[in-house]
Symmetry: C2
Subunit: 337 residues, 2 copies
């Protein structure tokens, strides 16, 4: 195996930005995507780091995504704001929506953000963390393309549909989880196929609906939700929130509409933000009380809080930089020529 390539976080950002600019993104679209990619590398979330840049670029080159899109904010109700992504990537639309969402949450107590007409290819924790950094509790919901069978069914219908939730802390980084409604990420199955490995029980069924440990059969069949029918119910809920509620596509519609260029598919994102000082507890009482839960969790051997691994990586990567495989570095250099 050839040697890994080490990059500083500013080199990661510059490389991502330049690739996107070369492929036709505006400065703001490129910067917003590069921010999420750099944050993912910083937190050692490789699956949402530079690895995603070729896909983002492919959707610019194919013309599927508008690289110069300028998101537009619409005030829909006292506690609801919409950002129309105008066919651009989601990160800039989410960034533009954060301030009005936070402002509404603080003035109304709870508020919602509907991001529409955008292309999602990033983790959800960055937009949740942007809100927890402002002292808010936050949810995010995103659908995808059809990969997951409904409960009792055998054909893909739901996306892998992640849901994220974040709780702010006063003297520590926020507790945030960001988890797919599917038992595994689709990329995990693809990695098992590439490496000639079988997949664990419970991840997928083949095209005839039988449980399978063969990644190729799984990719031709359907992924399973986590936790059986309960995970399927959550996947369904996310379709309704990120699709029907806000006037964007359901996963099966995204699949039907998609230009399969290797990049993100179209979809909506729904967020909810809550001000913990407006729900019955003042002066940080809610956050102080929550610390007693976190203490009880950590008092048990073997436990950790969600996000801990990311926060640990974040302590070192600004100094050590991050490493990527040489083949990816070559691909990115080629995109950047």
């Amino acid at each position: 195996m050839s040697e890994m390539v080490t990059l500083s976080l500013s080199e990661v950002h510059e490389l991502a930005t330049n690739c996107l600019l070369k492929c036709g993104a505006s400065g703001e679209q490129a910067r917003a995507v590069a921010d999420t990619v750099t944050n993912a590398e910083r937190d050692d979330c490789k699956s949402h780091g530079l690895f995603r840049i070729p896909g983002f670029c492919a959707s610019l080159s194919s013309g599927k995504v508008s690289g110069d899109a300028v998101p537009v904010v619409h005030d829909l109700a006292p506690a609801v704001v919409q950002v129309d992504g105008n066919n651009g990537f989601a990160p800039l639309a989410l960034e533009v929506g954060a301030e009005p969402l936070a402002s509404k949450a603080k003035s109304q107590g709870i508020a919602a953000l509907a991001v529409t007409n955008s292309y999602h290819f990033s983790a959800l924790w960055p937009e949740v963390e942007r809100l927890t950094d402002l002292g808010l509790v936050a949810f995010a919901f995103v659908s995808a393309k059809s990969f997951v069978a409904p409960s009792g069914g055998i054909k893909p219908l739901y996306g892998t549909n992640p849901m994220a939730f974040g709780w702010p802390r006063q003297n520590a980084p926020a507790v945030i989880f960001d988890q797919a409604a599917s038992a595994s990420a689709r990329g995990e199955i693809q990695l098992h196929e590439r490496d000639g490995k079988t997949i664990p029980d419970g991840w997928a069924i083949d095209a005839s609906g039988k449980p399978t440990n063969d990644p190729t059969a799984a990719l031709a069949g359907a992924q399973l939700p986590f936790g059986g029918h309960k995970g399927a119910a959550i996947a369904m809920m996310i379709e309704l929130l990120a699709g029907s509620l806000i006037g964007d596509v359901l996963s099966f519609e995204a699949t039907a509409n998609d230009k399969p260029d290797g990049g993100p598919s179209s979809g909506g994102e729904f967020m909810i933000a809550i001000d913990p000082s407006r729900c019955g507890q003042q002066n940080g009482g809610a956050l102080t009380h929550a610390e007693s839960l976190f203490s009880e969790i950590l008092a048990q051997d073997g436990t950790r809080l969600p996000s801990t691994r990311r926060y640990e990586a974040r302590l070192t990567t600004p100094d050590t930089g991050v490493t990527i495989v040489p083949s990816l570095y070559t691909t990115l250099q080629n995109l950047n020529e």
Copy 2:
């Protein structure tokens, strides 16, 4: 086995009401609990039907719950309302909170309800359905006593912590799911113990943290969340929403405070309601669009929508009545003397 006792729904309601009145509930507290119990019997949800009345009554007799509590509404923010249950049962507090919650959701687009100082012993779908009946999308979150181990841990910390979600439909009853964050209901394990049966894999660990199929060992150990660490994350989220956020107890605090009289324990409930006509889709567009998802689900053999079994029962029980076991009927008659 002796013969089952058949009761009409009005007899169910009268029997439940009279038992509660005899044990010291006010007319309004008794009626609100009897409504939820009758709705559960109507929908063939035996675990939340008359079976619960002895527990409700025990908490009145022990003095743990105030039978004459009058819930008080506090306006916390333009989009947040609180109902202080004043140490009474949750159903009346939830009923009192529904109108201000719905009104805020319609005027602000999204709104939240914090129910505090109340005792929960009912399913969540009745309060969700009250909101879907008004055309709103709704969530409900409730914690309980410590029964479920955190991810990686072996000791009970979280409650079985149900979460419910409802989506209104124009020409059909709402789609509502109401599911515990634990792999199984605690009562299911107790029923297996009573019947001398082993419990399925994945439900519980024993006191040493080893997976167990022995219901007695499970009850002395800890229940497991559904879907591994993802279900545990949801259980944690529900603790934070129904406890810390609204200034009520966490499950482990409810356990520490509880007078174990066989009735409900103290806790909070957090609800969110969203007006689907204020999130980017007007004139029922969100509901119309969602029907295409429901059609795609039902187009696959073996699927059904959440709540379908309840709605089927609801079609027949007003005519046929419901049946209860003779021992329960005797218990209720004794309470009613």
